[in-house]
């Protein structure tokens, strides 16, 4: 069982994608926070960031706090959106309970659907 968090950043269709693997809690959330800061530095005018949770088995309020904070920052920087993909049913439930889903905070089933929606909205 992975109790740590591995983070990597890539790009597809000019959209930065943060791939996460492991658990996001009070111990590991600084890694996600650092990744978001790096993306904001490298893509200062991006309209979208994708966060891939396909290998994330656990997230709690601290992880959601970082993502919500990232969405707020992106909204101020570029009126952009944070897009979550591949969330497990349990993690979707946590997002629902949190009430954090907002106008600039989207959930998509997978990367293909997310990029298709983002490209359509930008065209």
């Amino acid at each position: 069982m992975v109790l740590d968090l591995n983070v990597s950043i890539r790009e597809k269709d000019s959209v930065p994608i943060i791939d996460l693997e492991g658990e996001i809690d009070v111990y590991t959330y600084p890694k996600l926070s650092d990744a978001l800061k790096l993306v904001f530095e490298q893509y200062p005018i991006t309209k979208n960031i994708i966060i891939n949770l396909s290998l994330v088995r656990y997230i709690d309020s601290t992880g959601l706090g970082v993502i919500a904070n990232g969405a707020n920052q992106l909204s101020k920087l570029s009126e952009g959106n944070v897009n979550i993909i591949n969330a497990t049913p349990q993690i979707r439930k946590i997002f629902d309970v949190s009430g954090l889903i907002s106008a600039n905070f989207n959930l998509f089933d997978n990367e293909e659907i997310a990029l298709s929606n983002l490209n359509n909205n930008n065209s």
Binding site: D25, V26, Y29, D60, S61, S98
Partner: protein
């Protein structure tokens, strides 16, 4: 009521050990034949209670967080306690001053949403005890 079986764990109030508490909660809940979804709910509730203690109970110092899992035939009772600063539940930290520290407000929302009952006892200077319960689904009730 039959006496419960108790499992106790003490961890330092360091973020490194919240995962240890979560794993223990998962193991205990698994023994009680909770559903997978219930086990995930219990893990989050325990993690949130411990996170609050890590972030707020002892200020800049390190203390202990004690978890007691009481296994009843019909339900699991979990006490998460510290001997820290305590706080007034009405005076939640201002999340606007540190947007990443939304833990306390949202943590309590999660605990209340995911467990059947949640009770908070805290007083300044005397620490905090969070008591939570989760019922075992009727068809699965057995030790």
């Amino acid at each position: 009521m039959t006496e419960p079986i108790n499992v106790e764990l003490s961890v330092p109030s360091l973020s490194d050990y919240v995962g240890v508490a979560r794993l223990t909660a998962s193991g205990v809940a698994n023994r009680m034949k909770f559903t997978h979804e219930d086990i995930e709910d219990i893990k989050i509730a325990v993690s949130e209670a411990c996170t609050n203690a890590v972030q707020y109970a002892y200020g800049d110092n390190i203390g202990n967080i004690t978890l007691t899992f009481s296994i009843f035939e019909t339900h699991l009772e979990i006490k998460v306690s510290d001997q820290g600063l305590g706080f007034n539940i009405e005076d939640k930290p201002d999340s606007a001053s540190d947007p990443e520290k939304i833990g306390l407000g949202l943590g309590i929302v999660f605990m209340k949403s995911l467990m059947d009952t949640v009770d908070y006892q805290s007083s300044e200077g005397k620490g905090t005890v969070v008591t939570m319960t989760k019922k075992v689904p009727p068809a699965r009730t057995s030790l």
